[in-house]
Symmetry: C2
Subunit: 363 residues, 2 copies
């Protein structure tokens, strides 16, 4: 008997339900609906500021919602609406300044627009990259931003993805022109031209280049920029003056060792990337070759350290924060493009040269 009475209370007592809601499970739409004797539909609409809901209803819903500390369950909402308000970001590694900084930009922008950001690192392999995308797909992200891995040479996976319109994708920094994927990049070619020209104007006569892996477009373009700048200024192209490195201090050192073993030695280097430039500088210091008097060095990326080493390294800033922002906004544009017109856009950011000591010869 007593037990029965208790049970009845459980199902009738308004206070009881309320207590439950407060101390136990998170509040739901129906908790609010019950309290106000309206339906969940109305509550849902009120909370989304639906135009056809009366101001007074909205007010009372809002009031009860905050009383119960209601928070919309995004998972349930996503399941029903098909939108998760989450994007996935794939980077080669979170361990570098450059990508950290771009993610910083993406994140900031995404949060402002009410999007969550899932992060995944490919560790520079295409296999991991695909795994990351599959994970994102399972999580039903609304869009994906990716900077492709070093060893991504085949873009069929992306082509298929785009073709099936499974999810919008935008490449940033590391992109490909013929994958049919929108992208945000900086003008690597132009950056390289500027760097090389600067070395020429500073009176260096034999300018070498240490590239990154050439299957990666950014590095390929930087090499092209270097070559074209030389041509335009009537400098001879010398095959011995090009070394394919792998984005590391070590490869800068190796390259320099090789250059210095040549009969005709270079007197300056444009490195495709700052770590390589650093290796080059270390090797030069070791041999007491003076920078920039005897030898000029120019890097690319404006890594944090470049400003603080001695001599300070001339380099190209890649506008990381802007790149992050633009990437997210382009993705957003494609995600919101409901009319089905598939847009493919390419945003090219301007490289910003930063001329420091390492390349400025006192003539």
């Amino acid at each position: 008997m007593f037990a029965y009475t208790a049970k009845v209370e459980k199902h009738q007592g308004c206070n009881y339900r309320q207590t439950i809601a407060l101390m136990d499970k998170p509040a739901t739409l129906s908790n609010i609906a019950d309290k106000l004797k309206i339906t969940t539909a109305t509550v849902s609409r009120a909370l989304s500021d639906h135009p056809k809901i009366s101001a007074s209803t909205k007010q009372s819903v809002l009031k009860v919602a905050s009383q119960l500390n209601y928070k919309r369950n995004l998972v349930a909402s996503s399941l029903r609406s098909g939108k998760t308000f989450t994007i996935g970001v794939i980077i080669p590694s979170a361990d570098t300044n450059f990508f950290g900084s771009v993610v910083h930009g993406i994140e900031k922008c995404a949060n402002e627009k009410g999007y969550n950001v899932l992060l995944y690192q490919s560790n520079e392999t295409h296999d991991h990259e695909i795994k990351g995308i599959e994970t994102f797909l399972a999580a039903q992200v609304d869009g994906i931003l990716v900077s492709v891995a070093k060893d991504t040479i085949d873009y069929n996976y992306y082509k298929a993805l785009i073709k099936k319109k499974k999810v919008p994708v935008v490449f940033f920094d590391r992109a490909s022109d013929n994958a049919g994927v929108s992208s945000v990049v900086i003008d690597d070619y132009k950056g390289a031209c500027i760097a090389t020209e600067h070395l020429i104007k500073n009176g260096y006569k034999h300018i070498a280049h240490v590239s990154g892996p050439l299957q990666v477009k950014v590095f390929f373009d930087r090499k092209r920029g270097y070559e074209d700048a030389l041509k335009q200024h009537n400098h001879l192209l010398n095959k011995d003056f090009i070394y394919e490195g792998n984005v590391s201090i070590e490869s800068g050192k190796k390259a320099m060792q090789q250059f210095l073993s040549l009969k005709q030695k270079p007197d300056a280097v444009f490195a495709a990337e700052d770590f390589t430039a650093l290796g080059i500088m270390k090797e030069l210091k070791l041999r007491n070759i003076k920078i920039p008097e005897e030898f000029g060095v120019f890097g690319f990326a404006n890594e944090l350290f470049s400003e603080h080493i001695t001599p300070a390294l001339s380099t190209i800033d890649q506008q990381t924060i802007t790149m992050g922002k633009e990437s997210f906004e382009l993705l957003l544009q494609i995600m919101e493009n409901k009319n089905g017109t598939s847009i493919e856009k390419k945003i090219v950011l301007n490289p910003v040269p930063i001329f420091r000591q390492s390349s400025q010869r006192k003539q």
Copy 2:
């Protein structure tokens, strides 16, 4: 009539349905179930390798699943099971090497265990931090990792969170001892002792300290370590030798200017952090004071640049990758702790001193 026939086909024709599945929407459990004339329950169990499902059923399910390119819908799964296999990570900023590197560690470990990682930046304010957590809560994350903002001095929010057992939380690096939250930190006190002692052993007699904001525990502890090391070696504590900086090159410079204006000038500095140390070195170079001969410098954090500046900066490595790994694993342990026993753990990592040129006087 014709139309009718067509409509019938739509609802009966197996091929039609299959075609739909292949070219249109992602496959679902019921697509698989239909093909095999079994129920979604069985398919679900088969895919989760439930022990009571026969091997043959499992096999055929797996086969059809891969044929249809089935991918479990994580959102639906989460809604039903209450587990999202997603954790949230809050960092002050993605823009620094240190946090990038810790995130790297977290990410790697989380992915291996099948967890997704949501990232959120607080930009060093407690308000954003809370907003991030609320966002994560709405997304139903299974756990949260946070490195608190500079201006987080009040831990009531966290205390309430833990008390309500809404979601497991673990602090990393920036933590507090009395918030009732588990944490993974390095032994900042010990690191500071080691650094200071090293300077003493290298014959520096008047060792100053530039701290970070002292309401942040890591900086407070580093200051304590500095003070205690001096005491233990019978060095006098001099209030003029302590400058409260704000983790920047600028504050290193400012501190140094102030120190050098003193009657009794220091001959070495232990900086609470590498950027500060860098500022100190810049100021010293400007005044042609030789490092380490005339002045010793010791940093903290092992930022990337510290190895590459001249002279190379002695510093304390914070084991970022390990910190990330341990943080995730501790969180996982708490998340899996179903028996309700609330565990509060504190993992203290060993600081790893890296003695470079800047502190090693040739005596």
